[in-house]
């Protein structure tokens, strides 16, 4: 292990713990999260009254996604072909820099100065807004939640509800600051209407629209976009240019694959049987048509996905349809909120995906923020075994066989003190004779048990060994060995 990686790993751990500390001391924010997530979980549960049906739908959704991943290379080729036939221009980006420069290039070539954006987590991966603003292009987020955090200059704290950490008073304060012309209100409907008014004007005047994609259908060359506010539809139809950006794993084989995914996505994400808007984009404006963009582009971003795909176990990560259900049900996320993770994707999917995408040496410590309770895996609509993946990443992070190929940062979190502790544990627990001696002394010397056990005793009393171990009691009570 090189000194650089060890100092990086210490830094990331220290920084993570500092963010955790901040989050745990922010009572208002924790209350906001608890309230919001309790509501979302109840909404989701209501959508699935019949467990057998839910499980069948999960099987179906999982199969669709798994099949798409297996056939991904050919499906992507087909997608490109179909989109091109439809008049949509396809661009490939290996990394965030490439994606941003492609988008910037399109905008600059068209002389575009202002952009309205629909929600896109992939554009968060590439930090697109920042890049465009640096180059003098103004970006307005048109999703209400995204708009709020753009005003607050904060990153999203949740992949579906980016401003979930804010309560209505926070939002009212932001509007007061940035839109003093609007009368102060804490009424959510009034705030939403005000935002609509503000944004409507932007849609009408923007030079280009940028959006994400939920499913890209190879068979027909169709880009599907799921949303609730109509901002996605406006961003993709009102301006003269539409640029969609998405990860390469979003491709699915055929139109018939979409309904089960859509159904389980909206039910799992927000507890809605269907969202208010579902857009299927298949071509730019045709001669004689009155509206729609003149040019449509799709940027397909890899950003580590191809590397993840070749690992038979980690591949499952890519089935994700970004519903956020795992996040909503995570008992750690509800305590911390999204910003503490410090990555684009928080919560269980973040723990599983980000270290693979960015490297264990950079963000591998995230995997410690999990009790392995399994709540995430239980709700994931495409049955991603999230705890298993997190466990696998923990193992990779501390693996002592550096020769083995693996993820970036493989073995970088191995600390010799910890490794030694486990070696001693192993010695003790794999030699029955030695263990018996240990058990006998631990119970007899229980008075000497240290009264302070690190973080454990900050919140709990000290556990003390019993006066006699079970193995001694069992013998005494006549429970035989064999």
């Amino acid at each position: 292990m090189s000194t650089t990686s060890s100092s990086t790993s210490q830094d990331q751990s220290r920084a993570f713990h500092a963010r955790i500390d901040d989050a745990l001391h922010n009572d208002q924010m924790r209350t906001n999260f608890r309230r919001a997530l309790t509501g979302i979980m109840a909404h989701r549960a209501k959508q699935f009254p019949d467990d057998a049906q839910l499980q069948a739908l999960r099987d179906q959704a999982r199969a669709v996604r798994a099949n798409s991943l297996v056939r991904q290379p050919e499906l992507l080729e087909q997608l490109e072909r179909k989109l091109t036939e439809n008049g949509i221009q396809v661009h490939w980006a290996e990394n965030p820099q490439q994606a941003n420069s492609i988008i910037r290039g399109i905008l600059q070539a068209a002389g575009a100065k202002t952009v309205v954006k629909g929600k896109s987590m992939v554009s968060e991966e590439t930090e697109l807004n920042h890049d465009l603003e640096q180059h003098g292009i103004e970006v307005i987020e048109s999703d209400l939640g995204e708009y709020i955090i753009q005003l607050a200059e904060e990153p999203p704290s949740h992949i579906v509800a980016p401003a979930i950490h804010k309560n209505r008073r926070d939002v009212a304060e932001l509007f007061k600051r940035f839109h003093p012309e609007i009368p102060y209100t804490e009424d959510i409907n009034e705030l939403t209407n005000s935002a609509r008014e503000i944004l409507r004007h932007r849609f009408a005047t923007a030079d280009a629209g940028i959006s994400g994609v939920n499913f890209a259908v190879a068979e027909t060359g169709t880009l599907c976009l799921v949303e609730n506010e109509g901002n996605g539809r406006l961003s993709t139809t009102a301006p003269r240019i539409h640029i969609a950006i998405t990860g390469i794993e979003k491709v699915v084989e055929k139109l018939a694959d979409v309904p089960p995914l859509l159904e389980i996505l909206t039910k799992s994400a927000t507890g809605q049987p269907i969202t208010t808007y579902f857009n299927m984009i298949s071509r730019p404006r045709q001669p004689g048509e009155l509206d729609g963009p003149e040019a449509v582009h799709l940027v397909l971003l890899d950003n580590g996905r191809s590397r993840i795909r070749v690992d038979a176990e980690l591949l499952d990560t890519l089935r994700c349809i970004r519903c956020g259900a795992c996040i909503n049900h995570c008992p750690v996320y509800v305590q911390l909120g999204g910003h503490a993770y410090g990555t684009v994707y928080p919560g269980p999917i973040g723990l599983a995906l980000e270290p693979q995408r960015i490297g264990l040496d950079k963000v591998g410590t995230l995997t410690s923020a999990c009790t392995m309770c399994g709540a995430c895996g239980e709700v994931c609509p495409v049955r991603i075994p999230l705890p298993k993946l997190i466990n696998r990443l923990r193992a990779e992070a501390v693996d002592g066989h550096p020769g083995q190929a693996g993820l970036p940062g493989h073995g970088s979190l191995r600390k010799s003190t910890e490794a030694t502790t486990w070696k001693l544990w192993r010695l003790l627990y794999s030699r029955p004779g030695l263990y018996r001696l240990f058990a006998a002394s631990a119970t007899r010397l229980r008075a000497l048990t240290p009264s302070k056990l690190g973080g454990w005793t900050r919140y709990r009393s000290t556990p003390k060994p019993a006066p006699r171990s079970l193995r001694e009691l069992a013998k005494k009570e006549g429970f035989g060995n064999d």
């Binding site: 009790t371 392995m372 627990y429 556990p463 009691l473």
Partner: protein, 245 residues
């Protein structure tokens, strides 16, 4: 499965040292049903702590040391959802491709969590001799999600006429133990167990029972530190105390 003559009892490291009374109570319950309970003296730990920390080689070495203890083709009963889950779900993963994989798989396939075994295999009938009491049940996450046996504790307690079960808010939520998580992420764990203990205390129950001693050490330890709260007890001990003659 028909009722076996004998079973192995895999106590788990935590029960052996910290909760032997709970372990013994589980064995007494089994014995009362006419089952011979074998306690292999060489058993230690299922390997879970190291496995969940990513130290798979060490986990494997310790898990491997258990194989010789449970060779006969009889059920292995474990008074813990998480250790039962480790054996049943994760041993197959841990031993994959190892020379002793077949042995590990065989043990995994005949491993039962204690309440699961009492209900599903022994179809135990309980006669409540205890005083009226109001309790809350904390279902361990492994029992609930990994082993799918969380409802067995409810059905056992349901047989006890003098026991009223109160339901805490957010019952399925994790208590924040998570093994080494409680040490590595002590403050998150502390926040979680605070929420859990608040919810349990608010029920007004005088006893909290669970299938897992890890959860009990966490929840019970927090009640003790906070200076008030229900008593905590493993389900086996609770059942045995109320039904022994």
């Amino acid at each position: 499965m028909k009722k076996p003559d004998s079973v192995y009892y895999f106590a788990t490291c935590l029960v052996d040292l910290m909760y032997p009374d709970a372990g013994l109570a589980g064995m007494e319950l089994l014995r009362r049903e006419g089952v011979r309970v074998l306690f292999p003296q060489d058993q230690t730990c299922c390997g879970q702590p190291a496995f969940n920390s990513g130290y798979r080689d060490d986990a494997l070495a310790v898990a491997r040391a258990q194989l010789a203890c449970f060779e006969r083709d009889i059920p292995v009963v474990v008074p813990s959802g998480s250790c039962g889950g480790m054996i049943r779900t994760h041993w197959p993963e841990l031993f994959a491709g190892q020379p002793d994989e077949a042995k590990a798989l065989a043990i995994a396939a005949r491993t039962y969590e204690l309440t699961e075994f009492l209900v599903d295999v022994l179809d135990i009938r309980l006669d409540d001799l205890g005083e009226p009491v109001r309790i809350a049940i904390h279902t361990s996450c492994s029992a609930r999600r990994e082993m799918g046996v969380a409802d067995r504790i409810e059905s056992l307690v349901g047989q006890l006429g003098n026991v009223e079960v109160l339901t805490q808010e957010r019952k399925p939520e994790c208590c924040g133990f998570g093994g080494t998580f409680a040490v590595k992420q002590a403050d998150i764990s502390g926040a979680m167990v605070k929420d859990k203990t608040d919810a349990l205390r608010a029920t007004g129950a005088s006893v909290v029972i669970s299938q897992d001693c890890g959860c009990l050490m966490n929840i019970g330890g927090a009640f003790e530190k906070q200076g008030n709260g229900p008593q905590t007890q493993h389900v086996a001990e609770f059942l045995w105390e109320r039904t022994k003659r």
